[in-house]
């Protein structure tokens, strides 16, 4: 199951960031953008994330996934179109190949939400 490896890669990337933080904050959410034209299945990613983060610095953190559709731009027709994954990738109007992908290849960690211990303000 390749989402296990994707998750491993994701955790490593988040860890790189976390280790640069002086106070090693508790991460509550990790926000991802996952394009439909990638090799990642969001449901499997959620599952793998839950399992692999147990007893780690990411324990209890929620993975929030925003999916983006596959959108390509046809230079011939000068317009966007939505290729049908698994069926048809060329432009439906002029049959030009899908060359310019405008959306759908994202595999991005958008942001991380975290809580930090703050000293109470003295009166």
């Amino acid at each position: 199951m390749h989402e296990t490896d994707m998750t491993k890669a994701l955790i490593l990337t988040v860890k790189d960031w976390w280790e640069t933080q002086p106070d090693r904050p508790q991460i509550s959410q990790v926000y991802l953008t996952v394009g439909q034209f990638t090799c990642v299945e969001p449901v499997s990613l959620q599952f793998a994330f839950e399992v692999q983060t147990r007893n780690t610095f990411l324990a209890g953190a929620e993975l929030v996934i925003q999916e983006t559709p596959l959108i390509a731009f046809c230079h011939q027709c000068q317009q966007d179109y939505r290729p049908e994954i698994g069926i048809q990738y060329a432009c439906p109007d002029c049959r030009s190949p899908m060359e310019d992908i405008r959306s759908g290849r994202e595999l991005k960690i958008e942001r991380i939400a975290y809580a930090t211990e703050e000293a109470s303000i003295s009166q």
Partner: protein, 235 residues
């Protein structure tokens, strides 16, 4: 008291892998090596193609192989007969090579040999049409293989692999008459998402198309050598 913060990262999920791939490529560049990543489903004929390639070009081009296999060294042993360094990487349960595994292989090559002696490193990825497409290992180009027995629809079903490929070898063409496959349809399906990829039908068994593949390899090596490689400092 607890306060919630937000850090905008905007970095690729595979950032750590990508950084490793860039590191590997910088090493290859420094040593004057061109690296190709061979990918296909299991049994498409990557090892057979490598055997023919090593047998034909070993005198002319200095080649090393980094061989990814889930649990065995069977493929590596097949290739060692051709007297080239074959570094086997057992990926365990992982279904693809990542840049860290290839870094291990690359450093072993540099430890056991003088890496500047090599022109070409061929990385044979784990048989899988899905994940290897997303995990760069430090290659200069991606070579995908699709055997005629897999059917015309595979490029449509596994589009990322075929969209990323710089060169596609349609393998086992000797079997085409027996499996009712339409080669033109395979090409048309690939062209829907990758108009620039070089497509070469080959048969390791009859030798059909191998001369064209070797010619592509030679010209690709010339092309990458001609490019001014960055003299980056790598560790």
């Amino acid at each position: 008291m607890h306060q919630t913060f937000d850090a905008a990262l905007g970095i690729n999920l595979l950032h750590a892998n990508q950084a490793g791939a860039d590191h590997n490529r910088a090493h290859f560049d420094q040593w004057g090596i061109t690296c190709l990543n061979l990918m296909s489903s299991p049994g498409a004929g990557k090892t057979a193609l490598l055997e023919k390639t090593l047998a034909a070009l070993n005198q002319e081009i200095k080649i090393a192989v980094i061989e990814g296999d889930m649990t065995t060294e069977l493929d590596a042993d097949r290739l060692r007969q051709y007297n080239v360094p074959v570094i086997a990487i057992n990926t365990g349960r992982s279904c693809h090579l990542d840049s860290k595994m290839v870094a291990g292989g690359m450093h072993r090559l540099a430890h056991d040999y003088d890496p500047t002696e090599f022109d070409l490193v061929l990385v044979e990825n784990v048989g899988n049409l899905v994940c290897p497409a997303e995990f760069e290992v430090g290659e200069h180009a991606k070579v995908a293989l699709l055997s005629v027995t897999e059917g015309e629809d595979k490029p449509l079903k596994y589009p990322v692999m075929f969209q990323e490929a710089d060169c596609l070898l349609i393998t086992k063409t000797d079997l085409a008459p027996y499996v009712d496959v339409d080669l033109e349809q395979i090409v048309a399906n690939v062209r829907q998402m990758n108009p620039d990829c070089v497509i070469i039908p080959v048969s390791a068994k009859t030798g059909e198309g191998l001369a064209t593949w070797f010619a592509w390899l030679r010209s690709y090596l010339e092309q990458t050598k001609a490019v001014d490689r960055p003299l980056s400092t790598v560790h």
